[in-house]
Structure formats: C-alpha cells, structure tokens
C-alpha cells in the first residue's frame, strides 16, 4: 500500500519538473509543425496571401485557398522534388561509406600503440573540422576550390599540369561539397569508433593478437563487434544530418551550378523563400518530417534500448 502511494506522488512530481520544458517545446516545436501541416493543405503563394489576423491570438489566419491534398498530389508528379531527394540519396550513398571507412581507419590509427604524443595531437586536431561553424566550412571551400587562386587547384596543377573549375562544373561541384562534408564529419566517425575501440577488453585483444598476425582478423573478429553500436549511431545520425545539410551547400554553391548540388533542405528552402510557394514547401517539409520520424524510431529502437 505504501509503495503504491509513493509511486503515485512520484509521477505527479515528474510532471511538475517536466511541465516547463514540455509547455515551451509544445509552443515553439509542435505548434509550428501543426501549422506547417495546415499550410500544406492550402494553395499558399506568399506574395498573394494576406494576413487575416489570428485565431485566439495565436494561430495566424490567411486568405490562402484550401485545396485539400493538391500540394501532395502535385508532389507525386514533381520531378524537381524527386530529383532533390534522389540527389540527397546519392550524396548519402557516396559519402557515408567514405566517412565510415576513413573514420574507422583513423580510429585504428589512434588505437594502435606507440607514437603517444602524435596520437594526442591527432585527437585534438580532429576536433577542429568537427567544431568549425558549418557555414564557415563552406567559405573555406570557396577559398580553396577557387579556379584562379584556390590552393587545392594549385596542388592539382602541380600534379596534373592543369587547373579545374571545381565549382562551375555540375559533377565537380558535387564532389567539392562532398569533400568539405567528408572533411568535417569523418572526425565524428573517427571519434565515435575510437571510443568504441577503447571498450574492447585489453586481454581479449592481446589474446587475439597472439593467435593471428593479421590485423584484419583482429579487426573483423574482435574489434568490429564492439564497434557495431557506434556504426549504428553513425548510420542513423549521418542520414538525418545529410537530410538537414544546408549551411555548407548554401555558402559554397547555393545549390548550383543549375541544381547540381541542391540537396533536399536547400531545395525546400528555395521553394519556400525564393519561389514563395509556402503550401508546396510545407508539403515537402511534411514528407521530411515523416522521414525524420522513421529515423528517430530506428534510433530509439537500435541505439536506446532502454531509457
């Protein structure tokens, strides 16, 4: 009996602590999402729509015509949206394995005994790309990939004898933002996998090394199982982050040339704030919301088995 009443007071106490955060996040987080869903059901061209005050002082009212699922139907046949999603997928398929494999290689380098000072310097250096403001990474890219004076082009011309206009060619622009993205996020993979490697019990690793001389046997049979949770985290979070990717692309190429580097977030931003079709952009945003929810489900299922 006593335990029961105790439990009850506990739960009401929980809401006392939770309420401030939940109320504020409902207002700044959930309310806009509901509003986006509502807008996605309207033909909402920003310059043509007028404000009609608001409902209960919070829900903004506009004279945009209601058109049911018109935006969603249009989305199904919208080639440019599909292309932006597909481009994002290609970006993911190319760069995620690069970041994962390079990250693992760096993690193994940091884990290998010897050169202690250099490893310490290495760990600190990895923080620099990771911590650099995303927008500034794009600015660095603009500087280094420049046709006339870019330092990367200089080294390229030393080796191959000619310079390349990285940011003007559709494919090379795609490669350029990939390089900057890999530069920034490979350290993230490296640090995660490095911390997974430190979880491998020393005795087991040493026993395995006595048994086989080949490092990849140790990697495959002993170290990889310990890295699996880290790899799962990387796969899900990097997928979400690439769906979010905006800053680097915006500062480096603005999605161009043409729409060669227009990943999904940049695309939706353009439809909403440069084409001013808020209804269509909201429908696209709802699709992204659904993808994000699926990713979060996977994350909770495979990463947080318990809370």
């Amino acid at each position: 009996m006593k335990a029961k009443t105790e439990k009850k007071t506990y739960s009401s106490g929980a809401w006392f602590f939770l309420a401030p955060a939940v109320i504020v996040l409902l207002f700044v987080g959930i309310f806009p999402l509901l509003f986006a869903v509502w807008n996605s059901l309207h033909q909402f061209i920003l310059p043509k729509v007028h404000s009609q005050g608001s409902f209960l002082g919070i829900w903004p009212l506009f004279d945009a015509p209601f058109n049911w699922f018109g935006n969603y139907l249009a989305l199904l046949t919208d080639q440019s949206f599909r292309e932006a999603l597909f481009r994002t997928l290609i970006f993911l398929i190319i760069n995620l394995p690069i970041q994962l494999v390079l990250g693992m290689a760096i993690a193994l380098l940091l884990h290998k005994p010897g050169n202690e000072l250099m490893k310490k310097i290495g760990r600190v250096s990895l923080v620099i790309p990771l911590a650099t403001t995303f927008a500034v990474v794009g600015l660095m890219g603009r500087l280094m990939f420049n046709l006339d004076f870019g330092v990367l082009n200089y080294f390229w011309s030393l080796i191959f004898g000619h310079k390349i206009d990285w940011l003007a060619d559709p494919n090379l622009a795609f490669v350029s933002i990939s390089i900057m993205e890999d530069w920034q996020w490979t350290p993230f993979c490296a640090l995660i996998l490095f911390s997974s490697l430190t979880m491998v019990p020393v005795e087991i690793e040493e026993a395995a090394r006595l048994e086989t001389e080949k490092w990849w046997h140790v990697l495959w049979k002993v170290q990889l199982p310990f890295m699996l949770p880290g790899i799962t985290v990387i796969l899900i979070l990097r997928t979400a982050d690439i769906l979010k990717l905006f800053d680097v692309v915006y500062t480096m190429t603005r999605g161009g040339p043409g729409s060669a580097t227009e990943l999904i977030s940049v695309f939706v931003q353009r439809i909403g704030f440069r084409v001013f079709d808020q209804g269509m952009a909201s429908a696209q945003a709802v699709v992204m919301l659904i993808i994000a929810t699926i990713l979060s489900r996977l994350y909770v299922k495979y990463v947080y088995k318990e809370i």
Partner: protein, 281 residues
C-alpha cells in the same frame, strides 16, 4: 634467434614510422583548411589572389579593421553572443528539471517524451523554419533576437536533457532518501542536492547549446533582416558580387569559428556524447 631479432626491430621501426606519418597526414588534413582561412584573414587581397599560394607574406590587420569599421561586425557578434547566452540560460532552466524527471521518476508518457526529444535531433530545421517564419511575422518577432532564442530552444532543450539525464541517473538514490528524512521536498532535493552534483554535466551541456546556437545559420538567415543578424549570416552575406572581399570574408569566418573551436577543445572528451544525443559515452 640472433638473426631474426634485428630484423624484427627494423620491422617495428618501419611500422612506427608509417604510423607516425599516417597520423601526421590526419593532423595536416584536419588543420590545413583552418590554417589557410586564418592566414588568409591576415593577407592583403593581392596576396590572396596570387595564383601561387603565398605561404609567407606581410601580415595585415586591415581585414579585421574593415570588418569592424565598415561592416559593423561588432553588432552581429553581439547579437550572436546575446542569442547564444540567453538560449543557454533558458535551456538549462527548462532542460535540467526535465532531465531530472526522466532520470528519477517513472511516469506515463516517458517513452513518448524521450522519443520527441530524439526526433528533434533528426528533424531538418527547414521543416520548422517555414511555419515559424509566418508565426513570427504574425507576432512581429521577425528580425528580433527573441525569435531566434525561442526557436533555438527546440534543439537546445533536448541537448541539455540528454546530457544531464545521464548525470542525474548516476547520483545514488540513497541521497534522495536521506534528504527526504531530513524533511526536504522533491524540489529541494533537486535544487540543493541533485543540481550541484550534476554541475559538470550542466557545464558541458551549456557549452554545447552555446556552440549550436552560435553556429546556426538557416533560422538566422530566414528570421533576421538587418537588426538581429547574427555573425554567421553576416559572414555569408559577403559572398556576392564580382570581386569578393576574400580577406574580409576570412576575417569574419575566423571570428565566427574560433570561439567555437576553443570551446570544443575544452569539452573534447564529451564532444561525441553531445553530438550523438548522449548515446555514445
């Protein structure tokens, strides 16, 4: 035995040298773009535009002087600082009690709330930015720092929650029981016992929410015009026109990026934890 031993040592030496070189390559690749930006910020336009990279040059402070006198970078840095600091304070005030509830209590909807926090990590800001722009316009919040502070809470409160919840879980429950016997109510236990013990986690989550607010571009780009522009928005705003003011761009970029890099080095041990929603320790 005698013949194989020097051979093995030689192999080991070579192995060590290769290891060293590989690590050196990692360091150079990580540091070079940053180094190149910082040095460019001290170069004159001619030195930057030289077709052969100038590794040695006459340094100048002109780019920084221009940023402050001609483009009022100070105001945007102040905006960034104000937004980041207020966001940190509000996130801590809202997030720590929520983290405490999640760590200490069993209640209905706990899983749902946790899922909601994780989902905030996955969601592209453009999804929220579209409707929030219209809402902010309706409330006349466009181009104010408060619009940014409010929207930054959506990703900073969850960060505080998942870093602090972990720390609260590690505080022994016996302490709570002892405090209850002393006549503390549950708020007093939180305020006087749990919170001081969780101080390191508070510091780490404060630094993270500072970093994320300071770095943010998309919301700031959409929600500000002139008055409330933050430093990243100004840094990217020079990227138009025929001849770009490269020195100025790199000087602003350096001023935006440097504080964050320094902060991140301080929390480098917890960096991964902060970036993975506390999933990896």
């Amino acid at each position: 035995m005698t013949t194989s031993e020097p051979k093995e040592r030689k192999g080991l030496q070579l192995d060590g040298i290769l290891h060293f070189l590989a690590l050196l390559l990692v360091v150079v690749v990580c540091v070079f773009p940053f180094y190149w930006m910082v040095t460019a910020s001290f170069k004159q336009q001619a030195a930057i535009l030289a077709p052969t990279p100038q590794f040695f040059f006459q340094p100048t402070l002109q780019n920084y002087v221009n940023a402050f006198t001609k483009f009022d970078i100070l105001k945007s840095l102040q905006n960034s600082l104000f937004v980041a600091l207020v966001t940190v304070l509000l996130s801590l005030a809202l997030g720590t009690p929520a983290a405490y509830a999640i760590a200490r209590f069993e209640f209905k909807g706990k899983k749902g709330i946790w899922f909601w926090f994780i989902a905030n990590r996955m969601l592209s800001p453009i999804v929220v930015a579209l409707p929030f722009f219209l809402i902010a316009r309706n409330f006349h919040l466009l181009d104010t720092t408060w619009a940014l502070i409010l929207i930054y809470l959506t990703f900073n409160v969850p960060i505080v929650v998942w870093i602090c919840a972990d720390q609260f879980r590690n505080i022994p429950k016996e302490l709570d029981e002892a405090a209850t016997l002393e006549g503390y109510n549950s708020f007093a236990i939180f305020w006087k016992i749990a919170l001081p013990l969780a101080a390191p986690a508070l510091a780490v989550s404060a630094i993270f929410s500072f970093i994320f607010s300071w770095n943010e571009l998309l919301y700031a780009l959409i929600l500000t015009r002139t008055e409330a522009k933050t430093a990243p928005v100004v840094a990217t705003s020079f990227m138009s026109g025929y001849e770009l003011p490269w020195g100025l761009i790199m000087a602003t970029g350096t001023m935006v990026a440097l504080p964050v890099i320094v902060f991140s080095m301080i929390v480098s041990r917890q960096l991964v934890r902060g970036l993975t929603a506390g999933a990896i320790k």
